[in-house]
């Protein structure tokens, strides 16, 4: 196998799905960055978006619905040479996996989290997700979703995330820039990718997003948290896309007294002398 080629496999998505563009953009981003597929680990949960890792010929881990982050960060903790990227859905990331979302912002392991946010549960055929807009009728919410939608980027900022961006599957060049910055960022990086679902979201269509998204003005200072929060709260007639917030800080490995020294875990083998020492301390 050519070490820099990301072969694509046949997909199981609906024609016109925003996932195609996200997959192509991910592929071109990895290629542009010159990352060897042997050193990349793509992680998904379960859902239509979570199948993305399946379609690129690199290391992949598709575990349980809602549980993409825990195995991803643990793989990175023990094997820091890997570039770990999570591609999964809004339901997976913010619904079933909400607790992991919150706490991995705090843990700040160096991973990039790409949420394919189609504002609906696609794989299970169109029930409301945490980001479904109020009033949107679905098979399970026939009178329209009653709950207020969750604002993932605002929440990520409030929880202390160091890199928060928004993009749209219909703007591949923009998306590629976001993906690349997120992958390069040292720490937990969230990109909430607005994505049309042709089968189950008839409200937030390609045209709906396309007429609203607007690249954030170059005058925005991405280290200004308050300004980032204002942009995060803007989601309606206008939807600003781009890097809302980026602030450098020590990631998990840099904060960990052992790992910060470059200490290796994988392939370490066992250390009988250490166990002997610990035993003698109990005599």
């Amino acid at each position: 196998m050519n070490s820099t080629a990301y072969v694509k496999h046949e997909t199981a998505w609906c024609p016109g799905c925003g996932n195609f563009s996200i997959l192509d953009t991910l592929k071109s981003t990895l290629e542009k960055m010159g990352l060897d597929p042997h050193d990349v680990l793509l992680v998904g949960g379960i859902g239509q978006a979570a199948k993305t890792p399946q379609y690129l010929n690199t290391n992949t881990f598709c575990g349980l619905h809602g549980r993409a982050l825990p195995p991803a960060v643990a793989a990175k903790i023990v094997n820091p040479g890997l570039t770990v990227i999570i591609n999964t859905g809004d339901g997976d990331s913010y619904g079933e996996g909400g607790n992991h979302f919150l706490h991995n912002i705090r843990r700040n392991v160096d991973v990039a989290h790409f949420v394919h946010d189609n504002q609906v549960y696609g794989l299970t055929k169109g029930q409301a997700s945490p980001t479904t807009m109020e009033g949107m009728a679905t098979g399970a919410q026939p009178e329209g979703s009653m709950n207020s939608p969750f604002n993932p980027v605002l929440l990520a900022l409030a929880a202390g995330a160091g890199f928060v961006a928004r993009s749209f599957s219909g703007r591949p060049e923009h998306l590629q820039a976001m993906m690349e910055r997120a992958i390069r960022y040292k720490g937990y990086a969230l990109v909430d990718i607005l994505q049309n679902c042709v089968s189950f979201n008839k409200l937030n269509t390609f045209a709906w997003y396309n007429s609203r998204v607007q690249e954030i003005d170059v005058s925005h200072d991405p280290t200004d948290l308050m300004a980032a929060m204002r942009l995060a709260m803007t989601f309606g007639d206008q939807i600003p896309i781009g890097v809302l917030y980026e602030q450098e800080g020590p990631d998990y490995h840099a904060r960990h007294s052992l790992l910060q020294t470059g200490h290796k875990l994988v392939g370490r083998g066992n250390d009988p002398a250490m166990v002997e020492r610990l035993m003698r301390r109990m005599v």
Binding site: T60, F61, V78, G81, V266, N270
Partner: protein, 557 residues
């Protein structure tokens, strides 16, 4: 063997007094076994510990007391009836008791006179050492106290111990023993050391009694051991992190109790489906739900052997004693690695929290399995069908292999499939490991005579009490008794069981649960039905004496 109870309210220093005594007894060569009866609270209530010690290592506690140290009134009121006629009750002058065996010692006052009232416990320790006939000198006292106290407190506590020693009469004969060089170790610490000896690199858990002490011990050794210990946001995260770490090449473990295990169930199946080595410890406490949080039970067996949807191979090993906790934990890692399966270690609060004097573990006895990287023939496929039934395992980051794992049914490359043929071959590949495991399982421990008429059957921490029960029964009756104590539970080893059940006239299961879960498992797997059951489910461990009593009373006419 002697048996001493130390009781008081939470926060009164019972634990410090007990630890100090343990080290003094061990210093004198005594083997010991200390059980803790704790309430689920930080202050107040009534806690006690039982230290059983002597020339041989006891495998369980006993209800009959040779001595009591009472730090509160409740200890006297609750435990005096257990005191033997020749026993003693040591207490401060503030506690009321008319019993002639009561020995009043003004511990608080003596300690105050020495300059620190908090040394009162050491006065009691000194008195107890004298009562049990142990020799004591200043150097020896300093030696022991250095192990249990901060350096600045050693001198005054040496004085306190000597003062207590002077004030008490000698009462019992000293017993000696071989334990001077032994460790004082809890079941959970032995298990943790086993994990370290196995080469574990990543430990993650969410706190839950009685598994929390594994998290704390490993976290405290992490720096020296060169491992990462991460507290997870919940048990679902813990097991999924352990799986991710193992997938990426880091040997991983997580531990919890039944409540946390309930949350881990789906991911247990992920380790089975994706063939990722994983060790999960379930330290049992009485359920259902929160149950009795600080007490013991063996009621998760049926749950653990069948937890998670669908069918996949797993191994379940129960720990019987402290040595098992070390060696079987290494073996659990070995089995997980060799067969690429989840292995569940079942322990319980009784073993987890009990400290015992144990010789240093032999690092050569169960060598950790460290396979060479699997050879790659042709294009690498993580889930390759092989003659051995085990696919070649490599990790992501390997320049020669692309590694994929999926919870969906998948092909040899780990990609989603739905066709019938691949599904059938993959199911057969995974489930075939159960046959390989059946060759690996260890038969239960046989205690007592071959060809016994009465066979007791138990598992896990019931080992010590059953050993004692068999010895008591054989010394008191003409019948021959034996016990089979299972460590490996799934797949269930059957050879010894079938042979023993054939020759015994009466087979009795002895378990810490209500429904007789081992009995049910044995019947399911072998058709062998028990003639009677001795069960306890109040959160307190059966003793050898109680088992013997109940066998004599309930079972034999």
């Amino acid at each position: 063997m002697y048996n001493l109870l130390v009781g008081g309210a939470a926060g009164q220093g019972v634990e410090t007094t007990v630890t100090t005594l343990e080290y003094f007894f061990k210093h004198a060569g005594n083997e010991l076994f200390t059980t803790r009866d704790l309430m689920s609270r930080i202050r107040g209530g009534h806690n006690f510990s039982l230290i059983r010690f002597g020339a041989q290592l006891p495998g369980g506690h006993s209800e009959q007391l040779d001595g009591i140290i009472a730090l509160n009134q409740e200890t006297v009121d609750l435990h005096l009836p257990q005191l033997r006629p020749e026993g003693f009750l040591l207490m401060d002058t503030g506690i009321a008791c008319e019993d002639p065996r009561a020995l009043r010692l003004d511990m608080a006052q003596i300690a105050k006179g020495l300059g620190n009232q908090r040394a009162a416990g050491s006065v009691a320790v000194g008195a107890v050492l004298k009562l049990f006939g142990l020799a004591l000198d200043k150097a020896g006292a300093a030696d022991v106290l250095q192990k249990t106290l901060d350096p600045q407190h050693v001198a005054i506590n040496v004085q306190a111990v000597l003062a207590g020693y002077d004030k008490a009469p000698a009462k019992f004969e000293p017993q000696g023993g071989p334990a001077v060089g032994h460790m004082l170790i809890s079941g959970n610490k032995a298990l943790s050391l086993g994990a370290l000896a196995a080469g574990m690199q990543f430990y993650t858990a969410y706190p839950m009694s009685p598994a929390t002490s594994i998290l704390e011990y490993l976290a405290q050794q992490a720096q020296e051991a060169g491992i990462v210990v991460e507290q997870a946001e919940d048990e679902i995260a813990a097991i999924n992190m352990a799986i991710g770490a193992s997938f990426a090449g880091g040997r991983a473990m997580t531990a919890t109790s039944g409540g946390g295990f309930s949350l881990m169930v789906e991911a247990l199946g992920l380790a089975g489906m994706a063939e990722i080595p994983l060790v999960v410890v379930n330290a049992q406490r009485p359920g259902p739900v929160t149950g009795l949080p600080t007490r013991t039970e063996q009621s998760d067996l049926q749950f653990i052997i069948s937890a998670s949807q669908g069918e996949f191979p797993r191994m379940v090993i129960a720990l019987r004693n402290h040595a098992d906790a070390f060696y079987q934990t290494i073996r659990a890692f070995n089995m997980a690695e060799k067969y690429q399966i989840p292995v569940v270690i079942l322990t319980d609060q009784y073993l987890a929290d009990t400290t015992a004097s144990v010789p240093l573990f032999d690092m050569g006895k169960v060598p950790p399995y460290q396979p060479e990287p699997a050879p790659i023939e042709g294009e690498y496929a993580r889930y390759r069908y092989t003659d051995s039934g085990i696919s070649p395992r490599r990790y992501p980051g390997d320049p020669q292999a692309i590694v994929s794992a999926d919870s969906d049914e998948h092909d040899e490359h780990g990609r989603i499939i739905e066709d019938s043929e691949t599904r059938i071959r993959m199911m057969q590949k995974r489930m075939g490991k159960l046959d390989l495991l059946a060759q690996e399982v260890q038969e239960p421990d046989w205690l007592g005579d071959e060809n016994s008429e009465v066979l007791l059957v138990g598992w896990g921490s019931m080992h010590g009490p059953l050993a004692e029960a068999v010895a008591l029964l054989n010394s008191r009756s003409g019948r021959r008794h034996a016990a089979l104590v299972f460590g490996d539970l799934w797949p269930l080893p059957q050879k010894l069981l079938r042979r023993a059940a054939d020759s015994a006239r009466t087979v009795i299961n002895v378990e810490q649960n209500y429904t007789g879960q081992l009995a049910r498992l044995i019947r399911q797997e072998t058709g062998i039905a028990m003639d009677a059951g001795i069960l306890r489910y109040d959160g307190r461990q059966l003793t050898g004496e109680e088992i013997a009593r109940r066998v004599e009373k309930e079972v034999q006419p």
